[in-house]
Chain length 444, copies 2
């Protein structure tokens, strides 16, 4: 296939004519900031940013690309994904906004048009989602971290739109981004997982910088004989059809859409989370009373949940067993239970009572079920299809603004930020950048 | 397996007791600099370094890790690999020094001990070569670029030794390096190939920086259930045996050793190059007179030579057909024939006359043969096992010093540099860094 076709349709696309897409993008920006603000004062984030508080965007006098630019994208992405509260998308099977918005915010300047920012963001999601259709589930199942590996192309696409990069340089930028495509699932449960979101954002910045400096890469990094599609035994016809689909129909940000997370752990455990809360509403379960628990997945849908016996809360973010025990016993998911602190002995002793079982997906769609059997022979059962936050059961606008206010610890600033985002296509980024850089988030 | 065993043997190793290893390392440093000096004034190298001339090493007052450090490693690696004149190693199936020495030179300070530099370099080659045994030929054949993908671990190992990083942080550094492991063969024949050497050096610097800042990665990035060894269906037992082999026996820098290149193209074409020169000595072939040419490889040994019909000299670096035609007709390999200038029509018209054939490796080892048939029915044949520059037919010390003098365009400075390298384990790096940063190489 001719990879230039893809580039031209990206450059020519006018996604802002899709009003649902614009609405979802505005939610996405709020949710990204909410997820980031929960983490901006975290010691790890400060350490990565050389003990500086985060400041989003560039000043009018910054050079677009200096060494600081890609470093800022790294830090933004790390913070946005640090609590694992940031959005996911099912075609990408990863976290698009943590990569794409981090790259955009690293080059954004106050005088830039807000509509360009929205256009670039929606375009980045589009490319990430479309390539997700081609690369997944293959690369995800093999152990690659889609957020990093595919996300880098989404971020590069966003930068190309935002910076008006022309087609020939855009093609080089994508190829140079491909040179750095990495990110692995073995990092789930460590700092390296959120780092991989930041690394992808940073790599996209570097790729565009190098392309603008005249560096060349192969034009056939996807479909060429040695290209990524063939390296992973993917379907070249699908690549062609997915990338040549018109942008005038449904967009990836609308369908399958973004999943805005209500809980600070892997979305693959969200159905279990809601099922466990449903049971908890009937009866709070005591760890001591548990005889056994079965938790179910559709086959392959627990790939991200790599810890059956987590030893700390960070690993617990990727453990259906841990999430289920928390929901059943506490009825709530507190970010404090998902840190690098070790789990208490009673929790550890009960993890082995939880067993995974697998049921094929039915016509009703993906689901998870929980069967609890207590020592006194009481049983509980719940099944969840569309967990809270998923596209069919989404957070409301008010929920997202609450998330932003909670992340900031400041409802008034959350309202100001939400207002600047609501008006983004009518203004420059000036008010928006000012609002997100107020003292309250740790910035200056 | 326990990945910490590997880290401890790396940290405890004293490779400078192996005198052959030290001798080869000194040749390696000279050859790296020679290869770099050919490229330091290239417009692409200058563009990547933001129009600054390259300056190797840090000042005494530099911070070890600032944003500039990893950028310098990127530029050094790009320059070192730009002409494809830099060393290769057969276990790595790539270019170790371009990655390892670039990372080391980005952190090297004048007061640092020369013996530490040598120790770190040899240790980096050791890890790159050992992991090469485990990962190759699988990842190379699948399309990964070993220089980047495996080289990053070699460079990380070198930095760990050079900077006296302790074992627990060293393990994190390797894991964070793994998060960024990338580099693909589809880039051969573009600027992205040498960039991938620089990217790996840069990634190693970043990984060590992040580990020192306290970032965590999975401890089981190689042998864990989702680790690289399982992602690529590699042999975990081999990983264990290779990594636990004592450092007191032969070292990778000694056996299989480094291959110092006499020609500015891919070493997979070197046997053909020498065979073509051998025929040219009997008779200079005219393009017009050629009826057909067969060139042979042992099966799989032309994987790097991805262009059968190159359109420019950069692609010609990865074309056995182009190299053969040049050797047969010109009897010499001029760097001018390996630039991004388009090939002339007569050369293009004759490329199709060259056909690849494959013969199994015999007891005598790897070889390439050329059969030339002219229109007047004259035939020529040559077979080469150990091409000039390969470990069994190495460049002499004088050859390497000539290469350095040619790269610099200055024989006197080459002698000075060679002298500082000869005495490296007895001194600090001060004289060495001064010598390589004289005006003549474009530095200040």
């Amino acid at each position: 296939m001719n990879e230039n076709l893809w580039i031209n349709s990206l450059i020519d696309a006018k996604p802002l004519t899709n009003h649902v897409a614009v609405r979802e993008a505005k939610k996405g920006i709020q949710d990204y900031l909410a997820s980031s603000f929960f983490a901006v004062k975290n010691p790890n984030v400060l350490a990565l940013n050389n003990e500086q508080a985060i400041v989003y965007g560039q000043t009018e006098t910054s050079k677009r690309f200096n060494l600081e630019t890609s470093h800022q994208a790294l830090v933004y992405g790390f913070a946005a994904h640090y609590e694992d509260l940031d959005d996911t998308q099912s075609n990408l099977r990863g976290h698009p906004s943590a990569v794409i918005l981090s790259a955009l915010l690293a080059v954004a300047k106050p005088h830039d048009a807000g509509e360009k920012f929205l256009d670039a963001y929606i375009s980045g999601i589009e490319i990430a989602g479309r390539l997700g259709q081609v690369f997944n589930p293959t690369i995800y199942n093999k152990g690659w971290h889609s957020t990093g590996f595919i996300g880098i192309f989404g971020a590069t696409a966003a930068l190309i739109k935002y910076l008006n990069i022309d087609a020939s340089i855009a093609n080089q930028a994508f190829s140079l981004a491909a040179s750095q495509a990495s990110g692995y699932r073995f990092q789930f449960g460590s700092d390296a997982k959120p780092l991989q979101a930041g690394i992808a954002a940073k790599h996209a910045i570097d790729a565009v910088d190098w392309a603008l400096k005249g560096m060349t890469g192969s034009a056939n990094y996807l479909s060429g004989k040695n290209g990524l599609v063939h390296m992973f035994d993917l379907d070249e016809n699908k690549l062609q059809s997915v990338l040549s689909a018109p942008w005038t129909e449904s967009l990836e940000i609308v369908s399958p859409g973004l999943w805005f997370k209500a809980y600070p752990f892997c979305s693959a455990a969200f159905r279990l989370a809601d099922a466990s809360l449903e049971i908890h509403e009937k009866q709070a379960i005591q760890l001591d009373d548990i005889e056994s628990i079965d938790i179910s997945f559709n086959p392959g849908r627990d790939a991200a949940l790599i810890y059956t016996n987590p030893v700390n809360g960070l690993q617990g973010k990727f453990s259906g067993e841990y999430v289920t025990l928390l929901g059943l016993t506490k009825g709530t998911f507190d970010p404090k239970d998902f840190t690098d602190a070790s789990l208490d002995d009673e929790v550890l002793a009960n993890l082995d009572k939880v067993k995974r079982v697998y049921y094929p997906e039915t016509e009703k769609g993906l689901s998870s079920q929980i069967y609890v059997k207590l020592k006194d022979k009481t049983t509980f059962h719940a099944e969840v299809f569309d967990p809270y936050g998923s596209p069919n059961n989404p957070l409301s606008n008010a929920d997202i603004k609450d998330k932003l206010a909670n992340g900031l610890g400041n409802e008034k600033q959350a309202n100001v930020i939400a207002q600047t985002i609501e008006n983004l296509e009518k203004n420059t980024l000036k008010e928006f950048l000012q609002a997100i850089n107020r003292n309250e988030n740790g910035g200056k």
